[in-house]
Amino acid sequence: MVSRFIQVAWLIVKKDLTIEARSRELFLTTLFFAASCVLVFAFGFVSDQNPIGEAAAGILWIAIAFAGTLALGRAFERERYHDVLHALLLAPADRPAIYIGKLLGVICLLAIVEIIIVPLISLFFQTPILRHPWLLGGLLACGTLGFASVGTLFAAMLVRARSRDVLLPVLLYPITIPVIIAGVRGTVLLLQPEIDVVMVRAWIGMLVFFDVVFITLSLWTFEPLMTD
């Protein structure tokens, strides 16, 4: 039962990554959007090579949230075109496995974008953001998981809605605000000269809590949302 769940999720991830590797449609648009975001803020917040306070932390998470919304908005487009979603739903597989597969695909995409924009932020804002890579990695991994888990659910829910591009951010941002705030606060601590590891871990712990809540609710509601 569990192995079948994993098998279906893996099939979905593999399929999404294969398509993305060929088209690079989502990756390029998401990366371009995130990099543009960082660049525009760099012009606004850096003057005479002196960035304003801890703006880099907020800009990192804004770039992730905006680029993530773009990626999530297109996450189910491939299933919507040619009515493939119905073929997936007809499969005798656990429907939450489809959700997990799509979620992992989005996370892989955002992870690659983050690997590129974090050094960009470090460069443009002259911040020691990469001084504690494991803690930063923990914050980004947990924050991205929380954001993408809700986003994937909403993207699936809105796949048949005509105004889905407008509705997705409207629904997504209010719910994921706690994740973004926890991510920003944790990242701000990483930029301090004296890092408070306990507090960073506390923010990571809070992100883990949000992840557990969001993923549990998403797994619980995905099947009824997709059924009719």
Partner: protein
Amino acid sequence: MAEPAVSAPTVKSVMSTSQFSDAFDCLAFEDVSRYFGRMRALSHVSFSCMAGEIVGVLGPNGAGKSTLLALAATLISPSAGGIRYGNHGTHERGGNVRANIGMLSHDTQLYPELTARENLHFFAGLFGVQDPASCAEAALSRSALRARGDEPVMKFSRGMRQRLALERALIHDPKLVLLDEPFTGLDDSSSKSLANRLQGLRDSGRIILLTTHDFEAAEGLLDRVALLWDGALLNVEPVTGSLRDHYVSHTRQVARTVKVSK
């Protein structure tokens, strides 16, 4: 490749639901209604299809044919009434039921960026087929697309996509086959191949429910015809004579009745 024989009996008479014994030997709509908001798509539809039978669902555009297939495929639920799959209850719509259903919809339900082989391999895995690779190869051979199996589907013609889509729908050897306009985009020779394929499925005891407007392609293929009109089932009867004549005579009669009642 010949279809594997199944033990389901080839029965063409309509049975009452109490007679259903073996799993998935029939599909029965029991007083099914379906509403989308306030719009009525289907109203009190009751009929059965048996193993080894091809039933055509005919009717004008908007009559409710696709809704009927979507209901049978478990993609939507009835607003009232129920659908029985063999000895599976009317509220059973889980994996056990879905594993026995294959559906070809209006769209091809294929990923255009993936190759034909990758599409078949993916869906074979998704439907839990034991050996997805060999199953995909067999399906490519059946659709006469083996030579182009490594080309992305987006490069295929409409007819080739349709042939591939049919094999995608049948990849897990379903007992209930639902086909929405299966002859769309097919040339004469492909239509004949599809008709032969469907006859093979019927002979191996599958239940086949299809909608079509292509009367010539479906001529001689259907055992019974269910005529839908504005969401209501007018009749389900064996086809005698030409399919087009059968359809035209019934629809004229209904149109006259509607006109008189107005």
